[in-house]
């Protein structure tokens, strides 16, 4: 029973998962808290207009952040399906 925790595939699974999760978590947390940070400390910056339009930087960045959040979930699932799923399948088969 103890042996299954020591296999090469499981070790690789844990390592690869960390490599995928950590950068994406950092991206999520920093982008969100920078957004909140600007709102708390420099709200006027978000009121600036883009080029000649009436659209403010805050609104544009807000929309882009919503898009980024979705893209993060897409990237994660893409990477997990490609890199982790084969390892998981392999481990499941060997048990």
């Amino acid at each position: 029973m103890q042996k299954q925790y020591k296999t090469e595939a499981y070790k690789q699974l844990k390592e690869t998962r960390t490599q995928i999760v950590i950068p994406l978590i950092l991206l999520t947390v920093t982008s969100y808290f920078s957004f909140i940070w600007v709102i708390a400390f420099n709200p006027d910056f978000f009121g600036l207009k883009i080029f000649q339009t009436k659209i403010s930087i805050g609104i544009l960045l807000g929309f882009l952040l919503i898009l980024l959040i979705f893209v993060i979930t897409l990237i994660y699932v893409y990477l997990v399906n490609k890199k982790l799923e084969p390892l998981i399948k392999k481990i499941q088969k060997n048990v």
Partner: protein, 545 residues
């Protein structure tokens, strides 16, 4: 089933009463749409009731829901009437600030996906406390997790019920009491008879209706501006009393502590909402769990973009149209009616009827999901695992879960009536704060931290729960606005930053210093638990339907 039929009878008589009330000509579409929705959902409930014959089917719809279906159901749980009408109303009132909430509600999803969804599916059976108690002592952990779940669910329910009563009062001309009773009665029938299967399908149908309705309104608004956003926003700035200010952050967040604290509550609160977490047990495995989050995030993000356009659309097309304003120049009803009035402005009586019916359907679906999560905390966590220590029989557990559903339904109706005149807006905030302070830390640490012990969870978790409630009571929202004191004892509106620190430090300290025999055993079990959480080896197969 008889109760179901009696109930729909009551509903029809009430609605026909509504059509006789003063403001109802335009509501005929709404009433037809609504009756159709109720009819179809009751049929689904009848169908589901025949398949709901085991605890597993009651709590998880048999575990065979697909990723797309679950994604829709999850987004349905999130797209409540409060967030549809509330956020578009907030945008109508102050523009940009509405976006802060939308993004806050959305940002929790990558966290759920990256850290929680798969381990949760791999370790749990019916509720998130299955995961927390996987290697810890059942009784104390179940009781704590159930307290966290129930307080989140009940606060959320009160806010939804009061909102529902008021909204239906305005939309259909029904008296507040009957509105609350109808919502409560329908919710009890969906959940008691149809369990998770009915609750999920009600949620899916409503999500599709709400997404289509909101898309329609936003499309018709933008169509009037030939999809020229610059033109659209310029108009809004010209019309709005606050002018340019609506394009920038306003007064929602004024100091950095509040900013971080609100941010934490929204981000991690989402990851601790029991009715959302419960949905991950309705899919067959971790692969589908992942898919559901991607779909849900996409739908919810798209929905928030729509509510933002709808809020601005209401500024341009509703705020200067006397048809929608009362004598003092404010919106008829209140600011939360912005989206409803806008639907009439761009789509006439038919769209208004459709949106009103969808708003009602939304409330029904959301309260059903909440009630089911609350009932499972009572029957699965408290009754079956804390008091009978898992030695119960399944028939009895299902009976208890149905009694718990009826109990929670009646409680929700009563509290809805008691809190009619109260400002309940803070309750959703408090629910998120509790979820972020208690449910999220104990869940995440139980999955990832080897040294966690029962003692740490119990002391840290309950200290956090106590502190967060205390800080809300002593803070500006309750102490000043509700108890009418001059100054708040705790100066911040959002307590999550402080209470989360208490929980994490409490858990860390009392786990680290735990030298009991029991704690050594719990740490030893971590390796096996982590293996299962990562690989899914050993999980149940879904029921074949």
């Amino acid at each position: 089933m008889y109760r179901l039929i009696a109930l729909s009878g009551l509903l029809f008589s009430n609605l026909s009463f509504a059509s006789n009330a003063d403001k109802s000509e335009q509501n005929i579409v709404a009433i037809i749409m609504f009756v159709l929705f109720v009819g179809i959902t009751l049929l689904i409930t009848y169908w589901a009731s025949k398949k709901t014959n085991s605890a597993k089917s009651f709590y998880t719809a048999g575990g065979g829901i697909t990723g797309l279906q679950n994604g829709l159901a999850i987004s349905g749980d999130f797209m409540s009437a409060a967030s549809f009408l509330g956020i578009s109303g907030l945008v109508y009132l102050s523009g940009f600030d509405g976006l802060i909430y939308s993004i806050g509600f959305l940002i929790g999803w990558p966290i759920i996906l990256l850290l929680i969804a798969e381990p949760l599916r791999n370790l749990g059976k019916y509720s998130f406390s299955d995961v927390v108690s996987f290697r810890l002592k059942q009784k104390p952990i179940r009781i704590l997790a159930a307290c966290g779940s129930l307080s989140t669910v009940i606060l959320y329910l009160i806010a939804q019920m009061v909102g529902a009563g008021k909204l239906i009062e305005i939309l259909f001309g029904l008296p507040y009491y009957s509105a609350v009773i109808i919502v409560g009665g329908l919710m009890i029938s969906y959940v008691t008879f149809g369990g998770m299967l009915a609750t999920t399908w009600v949620q899916i149908i409503k999500a599709v209706l709400l997404l289509s309705g909101a898309t329609m309104i936003a499309f018709l608004v933008l169509y009037q501006f030939q999809f020229n956003f610059d033109n659209f926003f310029s108009q809004a700035v010209n019309v709005h009393a606050k002018g340019e200010e609506i394009m920038a952050p306003g007064g929602l967040i004024s100091d950095p502590v509040s900013a971080i604290s609100l941010g934490l509550a929204l981000m991690f609160g989402t990851a601790g909402l029991p009715h959302i977490l419960m949905r991950f047990f309705t899919v067959s495995d971790a692969v589908e769990a992942r898919k559901s989050v991607v779909y849900a995030t996409g739908f919810i993000g798209y929905f928030y973009i729509l509510t933002f356009i709808i809020g601005f659309g209401a500024i341009v097309l509703v705020s200067n149209n006397p048809e929608y304003l009362n004598d003092s120049g404010a919106l008829i009803g209140n600011n939360n009616m912005a989206a409803i009035h806008l639907s009439h402005a761009v789509g006439g009586d038919i769209l208004l009827g459709f949106i009103s019916a969808v708003a009602f359907a939304t409330i029904l679906a959301v309260v059903s999901g909440l009630t089911l999560a609350g009932a499972s905390a009572i029957s699965h966590d408290l009754y079956a695992n804390a008091f009978l220590k898992g030695k119960n029989n399944e028939k009895m557990e299902m009976k208890v879960s149905r009694i718990a559903t009826i109990f929670l339904g009646v409680l929700a109706i009563s509290l809805g009536i008691i809190f009619e005149e109260q400002n309940v807006a803070f309750m959703v905030g408090l629910a998120f704060a509790i979820a972020a302070t208690t449910n999220f830390p104990i869940l995440i640490l139980s999955i990832y931290w080897e040294n966690l012990t029962t003692r740490g969870v119990v002391i840290g978790g309950s200290a956090g729960l106590f502190i967060v409630i205390l800080l809300v009571i002593l803070g500006p929202v309750v102490w000043v606005d509700i108890f009418n004191n001059n100054e708040a004892i705790f100066p911040y509106k959002y307590p999550a930053l402080f209470s989360m620190i208490v929980t994490f430090i409490g858990i860390w300290l009392f786990s680290k210093t735990d030298k009991t025999k029991n704690s050594t055993a719990e740490k030893k079990l971590f390796e096996a638990q982590y293996f299962r959480s990562q690989t899914g080896v050993g999980i149940d197969k879904p029921n074949a339907y």
